[in-house]
Amino acid sequence: MNNKEELTPELEKLISKVKLKEPPQELMRDYLSGVNAKIDRGIKGSHFGFPQFAIFLVISAVLAGFFYFFLVRLQRQPVLEVKPAFIQWSVTGQGTEAPTSVVSETQHHGTVSAQKPLTIEEEVTVLEAFGDEFLNESSDVFGDDEALNELAVLDEVELSPGLANQPPHI
Protein backbone atom coordinates (compact mmCIF):
# COMPACT_ATOMS: atom_id res chain seq x y z
CA MET A 1 0.00 0.00 0.00
CA ASN A 2 1.72 3.14 -1.14
CA ASN A 3 1.01 6.85 -1.47
CA LYS A 4 -0.77 7.29 1.83
CA GLU A 5 -0.05 10.97 1.79
CA GLU A 6 -3.58 11.82 2.89
CA LEU A 7 -3.42 9.84 6.10
CA THR A 8 -2.29 11.13 9.45
CA PRO A 9 0.25 8.92 11.29
CA GLU A 10 -2.38 7.90 13.83
CA LEU A 11 -4.84 6.87 11.17
CA GLU A 12 -2.17 5.07 9.21
CA LYS A 13 -1.18 3.14 12.33
CA LEU A 14 -4.79 2.22 12.93
CA ILE A 15 -5.29 1.02 9.37
CA SER A 16 -2.10 -0.99 9.47
CA LYS A 17 -3.59 -3.11 12.24
CA VAL A 18 -6.57 -4.18 10.20
CA LYS A 19 -7.37 -5.61 6.80
CA LEU A 20 -10.50 -6.48 4.87
CA LYS A 21 -11.90 -9.82 5.90
CA GLU A 22 -11.03 -12.54 3.43
CA PRO A 23 -13.91 -14.74 2.34
CA PRO A 24 -13.67 -18.23 3.90
CA GLN A 25 -12.38 -21.04 1.71
CA GLU A 26 -15.51 -23.15 2.04
CA LEU A 27 -17.59 -20.27 0.66
CA MET A 28 -15.30 -19.86 -2.32
CA ARG A 29 -15.06 -23.54 -3.19
CA ASP A 30 -18.02 -23.54 -5.57
CA TYR A 31 -17.51 -19.95 -6.67
CA LEU A 32 -16.37 -20.63 -10.22
CA SER A 33 -19.10 -23.19 -10.83
CA GLY A 34 -21.63 -20.60 -9.64
CA VAL A 35 -20.27 -18.05 -12.13
CA ASN A 36 -20.40 -20.64 -14.92
CA ALA A 37 -23.98 -21.52 -13.99
CA LYS A 38 -24.97 -17.86 -14.23
CA ILE A 39 -23.22 -17.55 -17.58
CA ASP A 40 -24.99 -20.69 -18.85
CA ARG A 41 -28.33 -19.27 -17.78
CA GLY A 42 -27.50 -16.27 -19.91
CA ILE A 43 -28.71 -13.70 -17.50
CA LYS A 44 -28.47 -13.28 -13.82
CA GLY A 45 -31.34 -14.81 -11.93
CA SER A 46 -33.88 -12.09 -11.68
CA HIS A 47 -36.21 -12.42 -8.76
CA PHE A 48 -39.82 -11.46 -9.28
CA GLY A 49 -41.25 -11.72 -5.81
CA PHE A 50 -43.97 -10.05 -3.83
CA PRO A 51 -42.37 -6.58 -3.70
CA GLN A 52 -41.93 -6.54 -7.45
CA PHE A 53 -45.50 -7.75 -7.90
CA ALA A 54 -46.81 -5.07 -5.54
CA ILE A 55 -44.88 -2.35 -7.36
CA PHE A 56 -46.18 -3.65 -10.68
CA LEU A 57 -49.72 -3.64 -9.32
CA VAL A 58 -49.49 -0.06 -8.04
CA ILE A 59 -47.99 1.22 -11.29
CA SER A 60 -50.68 -0.58 -13.29
CA ALA A 61 -53.43 0.93 -11.14
CA VAL A 62 -51.99 4.43 -11.55
CA LEU A 63 -51.72 4.02 -15.31
CA ALA A 64 -55.27 2.65 -15.52
CA GLY A 65 -56.49 5.64 -13.51
CA PHE A 66 -54.75 8.07 -15.82
CA PHE A 67 -56.16 6.27 -18.84
CA TYR A 68 -59.70 6.47 -17.44
CA PHE A 69 -59.59 10.12 -16.47
CA PHE A 70 -57.78 11.47 -19.48
CA LEU A 71 -59.20 9.36 -22.27
CA VAL A 72 -62.42 7.57 -21.39
CA ARG A 73 -63.95 10.28 -19.25
CA LEU A 74 -63.13 13.10 -21.63
CA GLN A 75 -64.71 11.21 -24.49
CA ARG A 76 -67.91 10.64 -22.51
CA GLN A 77 -68.30 14.27 -21.45
CA PRO A 78 -71.15 15.86 -23.49
CA VAL A 79 -70.13 18.79 -25.59
CA LEU A 80 -72.47 21.67 -24.90
CA GLU A 81 -72.80 23.62 -28.08
CA VAL A 82 -74.55 26.85 -27.26
CA LYS A 83 -75.75 28.71 -30.27
CA PRO A 84 -77.55 32.02 -30.05
CA ALA A 85 -81.17 31.52 -30.94
CA PHE A 86 -83.48 34.28 -31.99
CA ILE A 87 -86.69 34.67 -33.82
CA GLN A 88 -86.82 36.20 -37.18
CA TRP A 89 -89.99 37.56 -38.57
CA SER A 90 -90.36 38.33 -42.18
CA VAL A 91 -93.19 40.63 -43.12
CA THR A 92 -94.39 40.22 -46.61
CA GLY A 93 -97.90 41.58 -46.43
CA GLN A 94 -99.15 45.18 -46.18
CA GLY A 95 -101.77 46.75 -43.95
CA THR A 96 -103.91 44.36 -41.93
CA GLU A 97 -102.84 41.28 -43.81
CA ALA A 98 -101.11 38.85 -41.52
CA PRO A 99 -97.53 37.92 -42.13
CA THR A 100 -97.04 34.66 -43.88
CA SER A 101 -94.52 32.96 -41.64
CA VAL A 102 -92.94 33.03 -38.29
CA VAL A 103 -89.50 31.48 -38.33
CA SER A 104 -87.81 30.29 -35.24
CA GLU A 105 -84.43 28.83 -35.69
CA THR A 106 -80.78 29.34 -35.02
CA GLN A 107 -79.40 31.88 -37.38
CA HIS A 108 -76.27 33.82 -38.04
CA HIS A 109 -75.93 37.11 -36.25
CA GLY A 110 -75.45 38.98 -39.49
CA THR A 111 -79.07 38.65 -40.50
CA VAL A 112 -80.24 40.86 -37.63
CA SER A 113 -78.49 43.93 -38.85
CA ALA A 114 -79.82 43.34 -42.33
CA GLN A 115 -83.45 43.66 -41.19
CA LYS A 116 -85.36 46.86 -41.95
CA PRO A 117 -86.75 48.51 -38.79
CA LEU A 118 -90.52 48.07 -38.54
CA THR A 119 -93.02 50.80 -38.02
CA ILE A 120 -95.36 50.69 -35.03
CA GLU A 121 -98.28 49.48 -37.14
CA GLU A 122 -96.18 46.72 -38.61
CA GLU A 123 -95.00 45.67 -35.18
CA VAL A 124 -98.59 45.44 -33.90
CA THR A 125 -99.53 43.36 -36.93
CA VAL A 126 -96.59 41.04 -36.33
CA LEU A 127 -97.44 40.62 -32.64
CA GLU A 128 -101.07 39.81 -33.44
CA ALA A 129 -100.02 37.39 -36.12
CA PHE A 130 -97.55 35.84 -33.68
CA GLY A 131 -100.34 35.39 -31.13
CA ASP A 132 -102.59 33.66 -33.68
CA GLU A 133 -99.77 31.54 -34.93
CA PHE A 134 -98.81 30.64 -31.39
CA LEU A 135 -102.35 29.57 -30.57
CA ASN A 136 -102.55 27.50 -33.72
CA GLU A 137 -99.22 25.85 -33.02
CA SER A 138 -100.02 25.31 -29.37
CA SER A 139 -103.36 23.74 -30.27
CA ASP A 140 -101.54 21.49 -32.66
CA VAL A 141 -99.22 20.49 -29.93
CA PHE A 142 -101.72 20.01 -27.16
CA GLY A 143 -104.67 18.99 -29.31
CA ASP A 144 -107.15 20.57 -26.95
CA ASP A 145 -108.81 23.56 -28.64
CA GLU A 146 -111.50 23.94 -25.99
CA ALA A 147 -109.06 24.41 -23.16
CA LEU A 148 -107.10 26.97 -25.13
CA ASN A 149 -110.28 28.86 -26.03
CA GLU A 150 -111.22 28.96 -22.36
CA LEU A 151 -107.83 30.38 -21.51
CA ALA A 152 -108.27 33.01 -24.22
CA VAL A 153 -111.72 33.94 -22.79
CA LEU A 154 -110.31 34.20 -19.30
CA ASP A 155 -107.62 36.53 -20.58
CA GLU A 156 -110.29 38.85 -21.95
CA VAL A 157 -112.32 38.94 -18.75
CA GLU A 158 -111.58 42.06 -16.83
CA LEU A 159 -111.04 41.54 -13.18
CA SER A 160 -113.27 43.62 -10.90
CA PRO A 161 -111.33 46.28 -8.89
CA GLY A 162 -112.05 44.41 -5.63
CA LEU A 163 -110.73 41.13 -6.89
CA ALA A 164 -107.73 42.75 -8.53
CA ASN A 165 -106.59 44.27 -5.24
CA GLN A 166 -106.95 41.06 -3.24
CA PRO A 167 -103.97 38.77 -2.89
CA PRO A 168 -104.40 35.39 -4.52
CA HIS A 169 -105.56 32.53 -2.29
CA ILE A 170 -103.36 29.53 -2.66
Binding site: E6, T8, K17, V35, P51
Partner: protein
Amino acid sequence: MEIPALSDEALVARAREGNRDAFGALVLRYQARAVVIAQSILKNLELAKDASQNAFAKAYFGLGRFREEAKFKTWLFKIVVNEAKDVYRKERSRGLFKFWSAQETEEHETESILETIQSSGQSPREAFEAREAKERLERAIDELPEREREVFMLRYLNGLALSEVAETLGIAIGTVKAHLAHGTEKLKIILLAPAQNMSQSNNILRR
Protein backbone atom coordinates in the same frame (compact mmCIF):
# COMPACT_ATOMS: atom_id res chain seq x y z
CA MET B 1 2.15 -21.42 -21.68
CA GLU B 2 -0.52 -22.67 -19.33
CA ILE B 3 -3.67 -20.62 -18.97
CA PRO B 4 -3.28 -19.58 -15.31
CA ALA B 5 0.15 -18.11 -16.08
CA LEU B 6 -1.10 -15.80 -18.81
CA SER B 7 -1.50 -12.07 -18.34
CA ASP B 8 -4.91 -10.46 -17.95
CA GLU B 9 -4.78 -9.13 -21.49
CA ALA B 10 -4.02 -12.56 -22.96
CA LEU B 11 -6.75 -14.19 -20.91
CA VAL B 12 -9.25 -11.54 -21.96
CA ALA B 13 -8.31 -12.06 -25.62
CA ARG B 14 -8.88 -15.80 -25.30
CA ALA B 15 -12.08 -15.35 -23.36
CA ARG B 16 -13.37 -13.09 -26.11
CA GLU B 17 -12.87 -15.96 -28.51
CA GLY B 18 -15.16 -18.04 -26.33
CA ASN B 19 -12.54 -19.79 -24.24
CA ARG B 20 -14.32 -20.45 -20.96
CA ASP B 21 -11.19 -21.78 -19.31
CA ALA B 22 -9.45 -18.47 -19.90
CA PHE B 23 -12.34 -16.63 -18.34
CA GLY B 24 -12.32 -19.16 -15.49
CA ALA B 25 -8.69 -18.27 -14.85
CA LEU B 26 -9.66 -14.60 -14.59
CA VAL B 27 -12.41 -15.52 -12.16
CA LEU B 28 -10.02 -17.49 -9.98
CA ARG B 29 -7.55 -14.62 -10.09
CA TYR B 30 -9.97 -11.94 -8.91
CA GLN B 31 -12.76 -13.75 -7.10
CA ALA B 32 -11.50 -13.00 -3.60
CA ARG B 33 -11.01 -9.30 -4.33
CA ALA B 34 -14.41 -9.10 -6.00
CA VAL B 35 -16.13 -10.66 -3.00
CA VAL B 36 -14.30 -8.35 -0.59
CA ILE B 37 -15.26 -5.24 -2.58
CA ALA B 38 -18.88 -6.34 -2.77
CA GLN B 39 -18.82 -7.19 0.91
CA SER B 40 -17.54 -3.73 1.81
CA ILE B 41 -20.73 -2.33 0.25
CA LEU B 42 -23.21 -5.03 1.24
CA LYS B 43 -21.69 -6.08 4.58
CA ASN B 44 -22.97 -9.57 4.06
CA LEU B 45 -20.85 -12.38 2.74
CA GLU B 46 -23.60 -14.41 1.03
CA LEU B 47 -24.99 -11.36 -0.77
CA ALA B 48 -21.45 -10.29 -1.68
CA LYS B 49 -20.72 -13.68 -3.16
CA ASP B 50 -23.90 -13.66 -5.23
CA ALA B 51 -23.39 -10.06 -6.39
CA SER B 52 -19.78 -10.67 -7.38
CA GLN B 53 -20.77 -13.82 -9.29
CA ASN B 54 -23.37 -11.77 -11.14
CA ALA B 55 -20.66 -9.23 -11.87
CA PHE B 56 -18.40 -11.90 -13.35
CA ALA B 57 -21.25 -13.18 -15.52
CA LYS B 58 -21.96 -9.65 -16.71
CA ALA B 59 -18.29 -9.13 -17.40
CA TYR B 60 -18.23 -12.30 -19.49
CA PHE B 61 -21.12 -11.09 -21.63
CA GLY B 62 -19.65 -7.58 -21.77
CA LEU B 63 -16.18 -8.61 -22.91
CA GLY B 64 -16.99 -7.30 -26.38
CA ARG B 65 -17.42 -3.82 -24.94
CA PHE B 66 -14.24 -3.96 -22.89
CA ARG B 67 -11.70 -1.43 -24.13
CA GLU B 68 -8.18 -2.73 -24.57
CA GLU B 69 -6.56 0.36 -23.08
CA ALA B 70 -8.36 -0.11 -19.76
CA LYS B 71 -7.26 -2.57 -17.12
CA PHE B 72 -9.42 -5.64 -16.83
CA LYS B 73 -9.07 -5.48 -13.06
CA THR B 74 -10.54 -1.99 -12.68
CA TRP B 75 -13.17 -2.67 -15.34
CA LEU B 76 -14.24 -5.76 -13.39
CA PHE B 77 -14.21 -3.93 -10.06
CA LYS B 78 -16.41 -1.25 -11.56
CA ILE B 79 -18.96 -3.89 -12.52
CA VAL B 80 -18.67 -5.42 -9.05
CA VAL B 81 -19.26 -2.06 -7.35
CA ASN B 82 -22.27 -1.31 -9.54
CA GLU B 83 -23.72 -4.77 -9.03
CA ALA B 84 -23.21 -4.59 -5.26
CA LYS B 85 -24.91 -1.20 -5.15
CA ASP B 86 -27.77 -2.59 -7.21
CA VAL B 87 -28.18 -5.52 -4.82
CA TYR B 88 -27.97 -3.11 -1.88
CA ARG B 89 -30.79 -0.98 -3.29
CA LYS B 90 -32.91 -4.05 -3.96
CA GLU B 91 -32.35 -5.34 -0.45
CA ARG B 92 -33.27 -1.98 0.99
CA SER B 93 -36.47 -1.77 -1.04
CA ARG B 94 -37.26 -5.36 -0.12
CA GLY B 95 -36.95 -4.33 3.51
CA LEU B 96 -39.86 -1.94 2.96
CA PHE B 97 -42.06 -4.91 2.09
CA LYS B 98 -40.82 -7.07 4.93
CA PHE B 99 -44.07 -6.54 6.78
CA TRP B 100 -46.10 -8.13 3.99
CA SER B 101 -43.67 -10.75 2.84
CA ALA B 102 -41.97 -11.84 6.03
CA GLN B 103 -42.12 -15.47 4.99
CA GLU B 104 -40.31 -14.74 1.75
CA THR B 105 -37.68 -12.24 2.79
CA GLU B 106 -34.49 -13.68 4.12
CA GLU B 107 -32.89 -11.75 6.90
CA HIS B 108 -29.38 -10.68 5.96
CA GLU B 109 -27.46 -9.65 9.02
CA THR B 110 -24.74 -7.06 8.80
CA GLU B 111 -21.32 -8.61 9.20
CA SER B 112 -17.98 -7.15 10.05
CA ILE B 113 -15.89 -6.39 6.99
CA LEU B 114 -12.57 -5.94 8.77
CA GLU B 115 -10.36 -8.26 10.70
CA THR B 116 -7.27 -7.66 12.76
CA ILE B 117 -3.86 -8.58 11.46
CA GLN B 118 -2.48 -11.29 13.70
CA SER B 119 1.24 -11.06 14.27
CA SER B 120 3.40 -13.72 15.84
CA GLY B 121 4.26 -13.15 19.46
CA GLN B 122 1.30 -10.78 19.98
CA SER B 123 0.45 -10.34 23.61
CA PRO B 124 -3.19 -10.63 24.74
CA ARG B 125 -3.15 -6.91 25.43
CA GLU B 126 -1.95 -6.10 21.92
CA ALA B 127 -4.55 -8.43 20.48
CA PHE B 128 -7.24 -6.70 22.50
CA GLU B 129 -6.06 -3.26 21.38
CA ALA B 130 -5.99 -4.35 17.77
CA ARG B 131 -9.55 -5.69 18.05
CA GLU B 132 -10.70 -2.49 19.68
CA ALA B 133 -8.99 -0.41 16.98
CA LYS B 134 -10.70 -2.49 14.29
CA GLU B 135 -14.13 -1.89 15.81
CA ARG B 136 -13.51 1.84 16.18
CA LEU B 137 -12.32 2.14 12.61
CA GLU B 138 -15.22 0.12 11.26
CA ARG B 139 -17.76 2.28 13.12
CA ALA B 140 -16.02 5.43 11.91
CA ILE B 141 -16.00 4.26 8.29
CA ASP B 142 -19.69 3.47 8.58
CA GLU B 143 -20.38 7.09 9.48
CA LEU B 144 -18.79 8.44 6.31
CA PRO B 145 -20.95 9.49 3.39
CA GLU B 146 -21.36 6.77 0.75
CA ARG B 147 -18.91 8.05 -1.86
CA GLU B 148 -16.22 8.96 0.68
CA ARG B 149 -16.58 5.52 2.24
CA GLU B 150 -16.22 3.83 -1.15
CA VAL B 151 -13.14 5.84 -2.03
CA PHE B 152 -11.54 5.22 1.35
CA MET B 153 -12.18 1.48 1.24
CA LEU B 154 -10.89 1.05 -2.30
CA ARG B 155 -7.83 3.19 -1.69
CA TYR B 156 -6.66 2.17 1.77
CA LEU B 157 -8.21 -1.21 2.45
CA ASN B 158 -8.24 -2.70 -1.05
CA GLY B 159 -4.96 -1.01 -1.88
CA LEU B 160 -5.92 0.40 -5.26
CA ALA B 161 -3.98 3.29 -6.75
CA LEU B 162 -5.68 6.67 -7.12
CA SER B 163 -6.09 6.16 -10.86
CA GLU B 164 -7.60 2.71 -10.28
CA VAL B 165 -10.05 4.08 -7.73
CA ALA B 166 -11.02 6.80 -10.19
CA GLU B 167 -11.51 4.27 -12.98
CA THR B 168 -13.44 1.86 -10.78
CA LEU B 169 -15.86 4.52 -9.58
CA GLY B 170 -15.95 6.39 -12.88
CA ILE B 171 -14.82 9.71 -11.41
CA ALA B 172 -11.85 12.02 -11.90
CA ILE B 173 -8.65 11.57 -9.92
CA GLY B 174 -9.10 15.05 -8.49
CA THR B 175 -12.49 14.04 -7.18
CA VAL B 176 -10.97 10.94 -5.61
CA LYS B 177 -8.39 13.09 -3.86
CA ALA B 178 -11.05 15.47 -2.62
CA HIS B 179 -13.16 12.61 -1.27
CA LEU B 180 -10.11 11.12 0.41
CA ALA B 181 -9.19 14.43 2.01
CA HIS B 182 -12.72 14.97 3.33
CA GLY B 183 -13.06 11.35 4.39
CA THR B 184 -9.80 11.16 6.29
CA GLU B 185 -10.51 14.49 7.96
CA LYS B 186 -13.84 13.18 9.18
CA LEU B 187 -12.31 9.90 10.28
CA LYS B 188 -9.66 11.78 12.22
CA ILE B 189 -12.34 13.77 13.99
CA ILE B 190 -14.40 10.68 14.78
CA LEU B 191 -11.48 8.55 15.92
CA LEU B 192 -9.28 11.02 17.68
CA ALA B 193 -11.63 13.67 19.03
CA PRO B 194 -12.28 13.42 22.77
CA ALA B 195 -15.77 12.60 23.91
CA GLN B 196 -16.63 16.21 24.80
CA ASN B 197 -16.16 17.30 21.20
CA MET B 198 -18.61 14.76 19.89
CA SER B 199 -21.26 17.37 19.19
CA GLN B 200 -18.74 19.40 17.20
CA SER B 201 -17.68 16.35 15.23
CA ASN B 202 -21.31 15.50 14.53
CA ASN B 203 -21.81 18.98 13.09
CA ILE B 204 -18.80 18.54 10.83
CA LEU B 205 -19.99 15.11 9.69
CA ARG B 206 -23.38 16.45 8.72
CA ARG B 207 -21.80 18.86 6.23
